[in-house]
Amino acid sequence: MFSRSGYHVFTHQEYESRIRGGHNFYQIRFSDRPVTSSKSIIDIIVALDNDSITLHGEELSDDGIIVYDRAMVKNEYTGDRFLHTPLLEIAETHGRDRIMVNTVAIGVVLGMLGLEMDIFFNIIEDTLKKKGSEIIKLNKDAFSAGYRFAVQGCLRCAFSVAPREKSRMLIGINEAIGIGAIASGCKFYSAYPMTPSTGIMLYISGKAKEYGIVVEQAEDEIAAINMAIGASYAGVRAMTGTSGGGFALMVEGLSLAAMTETPVVIALAQRPGPATGLPTKTEQADLLFALHAGHGEFPRVIYAPGSPDQAFYLTNKAFDISQRYQIPVFILTDQYLSDSQWTGEPFDFNDFIHRDYRIRDKSLEDIEDYKRHAFTENGVSPFGIPGTSKHLIITDSDEHDEEGHIIEDPETRIQMVEKRLFKKIPLIKEDMSSPEFYGDDKPDTVLIGWGSTWGVLKEVVDMLSKNKRIALIHFQEVFPLPNTGKLDYLGIFKDAKITICIENNATSQFSRLIKAETGLGFTHHIRRFDGRPFFADLLARRIDGIIG
C-alpha cells in the first residue's frame, strides 16, 4: 500500500518457530525519504491480542495510538493512547466473516492516516482476482467500514499522509537473490528447506518453468550441495542455499567443490546457533564458520549484502567470480534480512555480467591437448564440459594430476596447491570491491559493520552527524578483504580516535577477521546476540554514550 503510494518502506517481522499462534509481529516503517532499518518507537500499534499491548505498549511514541478490540484482547484499556475499535463486529457485519478482521484493521489504519481508499481497492482487486467478485466486494466493504470508523472515531489522529507520484518496488532479499541468480544464468538449484533460506528456493521454483530451471528439493543438505556440484561439472550454473545447521552438513561438499575446481554458489542465511538455536531469529555468527569451513586449504569468496539491492548485484558477481576462478562463493545473509522488505529503485539488468567461461563441443574439440586441471599462468584451467568433443573431462576429490587422475607424488601436489590456491588468491583479491564509506570525510569516530547492519548503521550516522564527525565503513565484500588501493580503510581506522565495530554476534567475528588479516584492532565493540536486530535509535544512543 505504502510503496504503491510512492513511499519508501522498510518492514521487518518477528515470529516464533511454530506454524500457528505464538506472539508474532510485523513492523512497517514508511517515509518520504529512504528508510533502511526498523525503529524501536512505534506510532500506530494494531493489537490483535493482549500480548501485543503488554509487550509493545512501551514502544509507543508520545503521540502514538494503540488500536485494539476489547472483544479480541479480552481486556479494557482507557486513556488517550487507546482506540477501541470493534474489529470483529465490523468484520462479521460488513465482511460476513471473522477472517475479515485483517482487512478491517488495514481500513482503520489507512483511515487514521487519511490515505486514499482507491489505492487499496486496487490492491484488493489484484490480490484476490482468483477468489471472485463476491470476495472482492466483501473485502472492500469490510475495509471501507473500518476506514469510516477511524475517520469518525479517532479524534486524536493528527497523521496526514498524501499519496506521492509513483509506485515503488518493494522486495525482500530472498527474492532479490532469486532474481539475481536467474538473471545470472542459474539453471540448477538444489536445497533442503531451512529457515530463513527457504524463500530463495521458493522464488526460483516459482519461476522454474518460465526460465527453464531445474529445482530439486534434495533428501538432505549433503545431497543438495553434491547435486549442485554434479550439475556444475556437467556445465550448468548451479546454486544451493541453507542456514547454519544445513551448511554444517554441506561442509564436506564445499571441500569437494574446491578440490575439483567446480564452481558453486552457496547462499547461507544465518540464524542464531549453536545447534537449532533460535530458528526464527537473527544473528551474524556464521562468518568465521563460512570462512573456515571445509577440510584442507582452498580459496573462497564471501559476500554479505546489506539490502535487497546489494544482494541482487552481488548474486550476479557471485556467479561470475565462481565461474571465472572455479571456486565456491558465498552469499551470507541472515533472518533479519530474509524477513524484511524494502523499497528501492528497480534492478538494472544492463550492468549485469554475462560471461560464459565454458568450453564445450566445437570449442573444446579445437583444443589439441586438453587437460581439465592444466597448469596455467593464472592457475585457472580452461573449463571443459563433457559433451561431443574428443576430450575427456576427468576430475577427482583425490589430489590429481593435470588430467584429473589420482596422484600421490609431492611435486605434483605442490604444483596443484600453488595453482588452486596461491595463484588464484591475488587475482580474486583484486576483484573484491572496497567497503562502502559513508559520512564525514575526516571522521573522529568510525563505525565498522558488515552485511545486514548496513541500513541501521547508515541511519545511525545520519542521526549523529549533526554534531559529531562520524563515518561508517561497511563491508559487503567480506572475504578476502579488499585491497586498500581504492579506499585506504585501514588508514581511516588508524586516523580515527574511536573505532566501533558493531556486530550481531557475541564474539565480534568480523573484528577478529580484521585483526587476523591486518593486525589492527578496534577501540570499541558493540555486540548483540539476543536474536534480535539492532534498532537505529537505540544504537545511536549507545554510540553517543561511547563518544561522550
Partner: protein, 287 residues
C-alpha cells in the same frame, strides 16, 4: 567401432586376484559390445577400491566423495540427461555412508545405472565390517563378530519399487557382461549389486563360496512380478540368485521434469537477446 584398448586406462592398484579385475573386464567388454566410446558416457564414483574404477577405464570421470556418488550423478544427469551416467560405488560407500541417497535416488527413478562392487567388507581401510557383512563374521574391528544384521540391498530395492534390480557375480564375467548391458540399456534407475570376492580381507565370501551357491534366475522367471521378485530377493545363504531380479516401467524423473522435456538443461540457451526484457517483467510483481 570401439575397441577394448580405447577403454583402457591407468594400471589398476588393486590386489592380485581382486574381484574388481573381472568387473573391469566385463565392463569394458560390455561397452565395446554396446559401441560406447569413452566420450559417450560419464562415470561417477566415490571412495573405496571401487571408487578408483573410472581411472582404470578411459571416460568422463567425476571421482567424488565417499558415499556421495548418487547426488553428484543426479546433478550431472539433470544437467545433461542425454549422456549415460554410470555410478560406481562399494558396499560401504553406497549402503553405509550414502544409504539415504540410495533410497531417494530409487524414489526419483532418475536414469542412473548404479554398480555396487559388493565385497561385504571394507577394503581400503583394511578389513572392517560393511553393511553387507555376514552376521557373526569376525574382523579386527568386530572381535565379537558382526552384531548387526546383514543389509539385503536387493530386497531393499524391490521394496522401494526400484525400476531395475539386478545381481551379478564377479566370478562369471560372461553373465556379468550381459547383465551390465541390460542395466545400461534400461530406461530409469538401475541397481546392479555385484558379488565381489575380496581375496585379502574377506575369508568368508570367497570365489569358492559363491561358486557353490550362485545360480541364474532362468528364463521361466518373470522379473516383472513384484511379489515373486520380493520372494526371490530374500534368497540368500544356500542358494543365491543372479540375473535380473526385478524390473518395472515406471516413468523416469527426467521424463517428469517439464523444463527438460524437450532439451537437456545444458542445451538451454542462457543470456539470449531478450533475456533482459524477460527478467524486467519478473520485477512487475514487486510494484
Amino acid at each position: 567401432m570401439v575397441s577394448l584398448d580405447d577403454l583402457k586406462g591407468k594400471i589398476p592398484a588393486w590386489c592380485p586376484g581382486c574381484g574388481n579385475y573381472s568387473i573391469l573386464r566385463a565392463f569394458r567388454e560390455a561397452m565395446v559390445e554396446l559401441d560406447m566410446s569413452p566420450q559417450d558416457f560419464i562415470v561417477v564414483s566415490g571412495i573405496g577400491q571401487a571408487g578408483k574404477f573410472p581411472h582404470y577405464i578411459r571416460c568422463h570421470t567425476f571421482n567424488g566423495l565417499h558415499g556421495r556418488t548418487l547426488p553428484v550423478a543426479t546433478g550431472i544427469r539433470l544437467a545433461n540427461h542425454k549422456m549415460p551416467v554410470i555410478a560406481i560405488a562399494g558396499d560401504g560407500d553406497c549402503y553405509g555412508e550414502g544409504g539415504n541417497h540410495l533410497i531417494h535416488a530409487i524414489r526419483r527413478n532418475i536414469g542412473i545405472k548404479l554398480f555396487v562392487h559388493d565385497n561385504h567388507i571394507y577394503g581400503l581401510t583394511k578389513g572392517q565390517a560393511s553393511p553387507t557383512s555376514t552376521e557373526g563374521m569376525v574382523t579386527k574391528n568386530q572381535p565379537f563378530g558382526v552384531l548387526s544384521g546383514r543389509l539385503n540391498p536387493i530386497a531393499l530395492a524391490v521394496a522401494l519399487d526400484c525400476s531395475l534390480v539386478a545381481r551379478g557375480f564377479a566370478g562369471d564375467i560372461a553373465h556379468l557382461k550381459g547383465i551390465m548391458k541390460e542395466v545400461i540399456n534400461h530406461n530409469g534407475f538401475a541397481l546392479l549389486d555385484i558379488l565381489q570376492p575380496c581375496v585379502t580381507f574377506n575369508k568368508v565370501n570367497t570365489y569358492d563360496w559363491y561358486r557353490q551357491r550362485v545360480y541364474y534366475v532362468g528364463d521361466d522367471y518373470n522379473p516383472e512380478d513384484r511379489v515373486s521378485a520380493f520372494v526371490k530377493s530374500l534368497e540368500w545363504g544356500e542358494r543365491i540368485p543372479i540375473g535380473i531380479i526385478y524390473r518395472n516401467r515406471r516413468q523416469t524423473f527426467e521424463e517428469r521434469v517439464p523444463v527438460i522435456k524437450e532439451n537437456p538443461l545444458i542445451d538451454h540457451e542462457v543470456f539470449t537477446e531478450n533475456w533482459r526484457d524477460a527478467l524486467k517483467e519478473a520485477l512487475n510483481e514487486f510494484f
